[in-house]
């Protein structure tokens, strides 16, 4: 890697002056610190562009806190992947950096190997039963969160029924404090479940890639992924429901016509309510709304993205497109049968090429192991990042509403400007003032000014470009997520060290879905702009999400800044047979809407063929 040995250390990074005070937005243990200097400098840190490409609102950081614990513990304390340890996080300038913890001492590796050897086979052998239990408890958790009562107001005097016949003993003051604590506990529990089998699933995938590469040295990872990927995973359901509703709408003329109108979703719903067929159709929608419309409009990681249920214009615009295409006689659904058949053909052909009987047996066995557990990666995403997060954001906003109602904050979403340890303080401030009686002040001025200041810091952070890495890159990594999900390879680190060249015409990334396609680019940085996408364009975006599936029947190819072979864009592209290149790091900065680009999903290269207006 030439003379450059690594990146600057965290303390050497210069931040713009407008970001002064950013540290107080995040809990102290999440910051780089002098007292852990030696440890922190021993590790290589890279910006987590997969989960947190953007400057982080303090409350949205809760998912990171939760996964730092959850992801790590399954590797270190639960299933005990022998040489691997956890993934640690630090905040720097409103962006999150992560690092795989150095391997444990040899004797610990030995101990863990024993535990791992006992627990892993059990999970593989019982996965179907375990998945059944998982989904059951997860749905129960979501229902609990949905039924969590957040007081809408602080009543002047508690009602009589709190006194007669037996006094309740506590008031909304306690309820507010307790409800927020419960909500935090619930989201933490959700994230505990999130990783229950994920580490093992990724490990199984990495093992299968190795196996396939030993047999077929030139096999593409996108091909391996195609063999492993599920067809009927939960993440595809929201789109399937849209297809079904669109077909129903077409069958009921007035419904289809209303859906095609150039008016907002609210207005469409109002018109639908005015017709018999419309009411029947709306009932059908209502039946599947929970859970399938609890799909996030983007990654599910940020409060400002919204979900279908909170931004009905999004699913309605998809259905509008589907209805129009159905009327033209086009097919809108993915053909599960075709995808399954193609996958079976590919697996069978590779198997046929293996001439040694023993190898064929090992391959089959490896394949069945990975197929058993890999489904978890595709199913948990809908339930955690989409369904549960949608419920979470909704509940958090109830607290935001309460604080706005009593003039502690200016806007509901200002609550996201405070971290999860600060919010109990604000809530306590509010209920204390209520308890103290008429006229007792809160520190609303203090909170409001803080919110305002933080909004400015975040604005400055968005305009600042964080370094991709901090410190000296390591020799090796044994932590499966680092390798697979974040795709930290020697090439990647090398490219980062060279610095991104934004002047060229060629962009490299993961060859995540094979094929070549050329077309005009549509760069979409914000989820809400997805509606601008026109048929035949190439989607260029930071990352995609399962709820974008309807878009994939329109586009020619997809390119993302972030994500490896398992990201949504990759999976969905393969499903729809579209070329895609993911994890380019720079596509949305280098490509402009209207540029003619050629996406080679087999080689993992995007070429800018012709600049817009050139």
């Amino acid at each position: 890697m030439g003379e450059t040995k690594g990146f600057p250390y965290a303390e050497e990074v210069k931040l713009p002056p407008e970001m002064a005070g950013w540290e107080e937005m995040y809990p102290p243990h999440r910051l780089f610190s002098k007292d852990r200097d030696d440890w922190e400098k021993r590790h290589f840190w890279y910006q987590d562009k997969i989960h947190d490409p953007e400057a982080l609102y303090p409350l949205d950081d809760i998912f990171n806190e939760a996964w730092q614990i959850a992801l790590s513990q399954y590797t270190t304390r639960v299933f005990c992947i022998p040489p691997a340890q956890g993934v640690q996080q630090r905040m720097l300038g409103c962006y999150m950096y992560i690092s795989a913890v150095e391997p444990p001492p040899p004797e610990v590796i030995g101990e863990k190997a024993e535990v791992f050897g006992k627990r892993l086979p059990y999970v593989l052998q019982n996965y179907d039963m375990l998945w059944g239990k998982w989904i059951e408890k997860f749905k129960a958790l979501g229902k609990d969160m949905q039924s969590l009562k957040v007081p809408e107001e602080l009543v002047k005097y508690v009602p009589d029924e709190d006194i007669f016949p037996v006094t309740k003993g506590y008031t909304p003051a306690y309820e507010v404090i307790a409800a927020f604590n419960t909500l935090v506990n619930q989201i933490f529990l959700g994230w505990q479940y999130h990783f229950e089998y994920l580490n093992l699933a990724y490990l199984a995938y990495l093992m299968f890639v190795d196996t396939a590469k030993k047999l077929f040295p030139g096999i593409k990872e996108s091909t391996v992924m195609g063999m492993v990927a599920g067809v009927d995973a939960a993440m595809f359901r929201p789109d399937q429901e849209l297809c079904r509703l669109s077909r129903l709408a077409v069958a009921q003329r007035p419904v289809g016509d209303i859906l095609k109108k150039d008016i907002s979703a609210d207005e469409k719903i109002k018109e639908l309510k005015g017709t018999e067929a419309g009411r029947v159709w709306l009932e059908e929608l209502e039946k599947i709304k929970d859970p399938w419309f609890f799909a996030s409009c983007a990654s599910g990681w940020f409060h400002y993205e919204g979900s279908w249920v909170t931004k009905m214009d999004v699913p309605f615009s998809y259905m509008e497109g589907y209805v129009k295409r159905l009327e033209k006689g086009e097919k809108i659904e993915r053909s599960l049968e075709d995808i399954t058949k193609e996958r079976e053909r590919v697996v069978a052909e590779y198997k046929k090429l293996i001439k040694v009987e023993d190898d064929r047996k090992s391959f089959e066995d490896a394949y069945s192991a990975v197929r058993t557990i890999y489904q978890f990666t595709e199913n948990h995403i809908f339930w955690v990042e989409n369904w549960l997060h949608t419920i979470w954001f909704d509940k958090v906003r109830k607290f935001g509403d309460l604080l706005v109602k009593y003039n502690v904050l200016k806007k509901t979403d200002d609550i996201f400007l405070f971290n999860r340890f600060e919010i109990p303080m604000i809530l306590e401030d509010l209920v204390t003032a209520w308890a103290l009686g008429v006229g007792a002040p809160t520190r609303s001025k203090y909170w409001m000014e803080k919110a305002e200041k933080r909004e400015k810091i975040l604005e400055a952070a968005r305009n600042w470009v964080p370094l991709p890495g901090l410190g000296i890159p390591p020799e090796e990594v044994s932590e499966p997520f680092t390798v697979m999900l974040w795709g930290i390879t020697s090439e990647k680190v090398g490219e980062w060290l060279k610095g991104a060249d934004l002047s060229g015409n060629e962009i490299k990334g993961f060859a995540s879905s094979a094929g070549v396609a050329e077309g005009p680019a549509r760069v979409i940085k914000l989820a809400k702009d997805i509606v601008n996408l026109k048929p035949g364009e190439v989607l260029v975006c930071p990352s995609t999400n399962p709820s974008w599936a309807p878009v994939f029947t329109k586009i020619k190819a997809a390119v993302t800044d972030i994500g490896g072979l398992t990201c949504h864009a990759s999976i969905v592209s393969r499903e729809y047979g579209l070329p895609s290149v993911t994890g380019t790091g720079v596509a949305t900065s280098m490509i402009k809407t209207g540029d003619i680009i050629k996406v080679d999903g087999t080689a993992g290269v995007v070429m800018i063929v012709k600049r817009a207006g050139a």
Partner: protein, 357 residues
């Protein structure tokens, strides 16, 4: 002589290997299996024997060799072998084919002309030994007219006396005067591009790939290594072109109607780096390669040629197929070591991944 010594290609198959030589047998096999092979016929090894015996060529060569002494392991004696080769080839090529044989060969050639619907079509006369000696004997391209065909068949026979063949036989202690081979007479494809493909990646033995090399003009340019061909690596299962290297091909190997010779003609600068194949041709070749491999049951080395006058896909001809000689012969050994999925999973869990090169 009652025994048959000449065959239409479609009349022979792999089982005729020892009768007509490997190349003819394989081409016949491909033809019978329905692959698009240029029409042609094969002279069996018996034709060689009969020619050598009836014209007394054998006797004359034996007589010449009576006084010949040289050590094939001594490099300095190479010159002696060269001289002998020259003399013997002069003897052989001066001999006329027995007239009954000549008439039959001409008859088969006329049949090819009739099939093609034009007179004096161009053919290639190619050697076909019962065991494969790539590049040892000679091939004559763009032969046209009955007399020339007959003469060039004799020339192919005579090529068993080229220096390298004589030395090879001497080293193996085989008789020098006699090395029966078959001859394939094949309709020439007016090749715009031609080359070779392997049904395995020759670099690493990956059997899920087809490696194709091609260049402008006739395939000899690629086989002989006289041009740097375009290279494609295609995935057999997904039918995807995964790698393509478009080379500066410099020359094309073409027929010069004025000199009646094959020659290397310099390509215009703007054409040297143009890819010699369309993508659909690459994919069609891959499909054919898969089928050939499946037919023969082992990795294949296939020569192909693309006509400039016929429409795709009829334009694509296979002109040779033989077992791939490196990976195909390797003993298949287990690379996974009889492990179960669980064992491999435990192993994977124990191995860290290197991050920095």
């Amino acid at each position: 002589m009652a025994e048959k010594w000449i065959y239409r290609l479609k009349e022979v198959g792999q089982e005729h290997n020892d009768i007509v030589g490997k190349k003819c047998a394989n081409l016949g096999e491909l033809t019978k299996a329905g692959f698009h092979v240029p029409p042609g016929f094969a002279l069996g090894v018996d034709a060689y024997c009969r020619f050598m015996k009836e014209t007394e060529a054998s006797q004359r060569i034996l007589k010449y060799l009576e006084d010949f002494k040289a050590d094939p392991h001594n490099l300095e004696d190479t010159l002696k072998y060269e001289k002998a080769s020259q003399d013997i080839r002069e003897i052989v090529e001066a001999i006329k084919m027995p007239s009954d044989m000549e008439e039959i060969v001409k008859g088969y050639y006329k049949e090819l002309c009739k099939l093609a619907g034009c007179e004096n079509i161009y053919v290639a006369t190619r050697s076909a030994g019962p065991t494969s000696h790539p590049g040892q004997y000679e091939t004559y391209l763009n032969v046209s007219g009955t007399d020339d065909v007959v003469f060039n068949v004799v020339r192919v026979w005579s090529s068993t006396f080229n220096t390298r063949s004589i030395i090879a036989r001497a080293r193996l202690d085989m008789p020098l005067h006699h090395d029966p081979i078959g001859v394939a007479v094949l309709t020439m494809v007016d090749a715009k591009a031609a080359g070779v493909m392997f049904t395995v990646n020759p670099v690493n033995g990956d059997e899920s790939k087809v490696a194709i090399e091609g260049s402008f003009g006739y395939g000899e340019a690629v086989v002989s290594g006289n041009v740097t061909p375009d290279r494609y690596l295609v995935d057999k299962i997904g039918l995807m072109i995964e790698e393509r290297v478009i080379s500066d091909k410099g020359n094309e190997f073409v027929y010069n109607p004025e000199t009646k010779e094959m020659e290397y003609k310099e390509l215009p600068p703007d054409q040297r780096r143009v890819q010699c194949l369309e993508d659909r041709e690459v994919l069609e070749l891959t499909r054919l390669a898969k089928k050939v491999e499946e037919h023969f049951g082992c990795p294949q080395d296939v020569e192909w040629s693309i006509s400039r006058s016929l429409p795709f896909p009829e334009s694509i001809f296979l002109v040779q197929a033989r077992p791939e000689s490196v990976w195909g012969k390797k003993k298949k050994e287990s690379v996974l070591g009889k492990k179960t999925g669980l064992e491999m999973l435990l192993e994977k869990a124990m191995t860290p991944t290197k991050v920095r090169a």
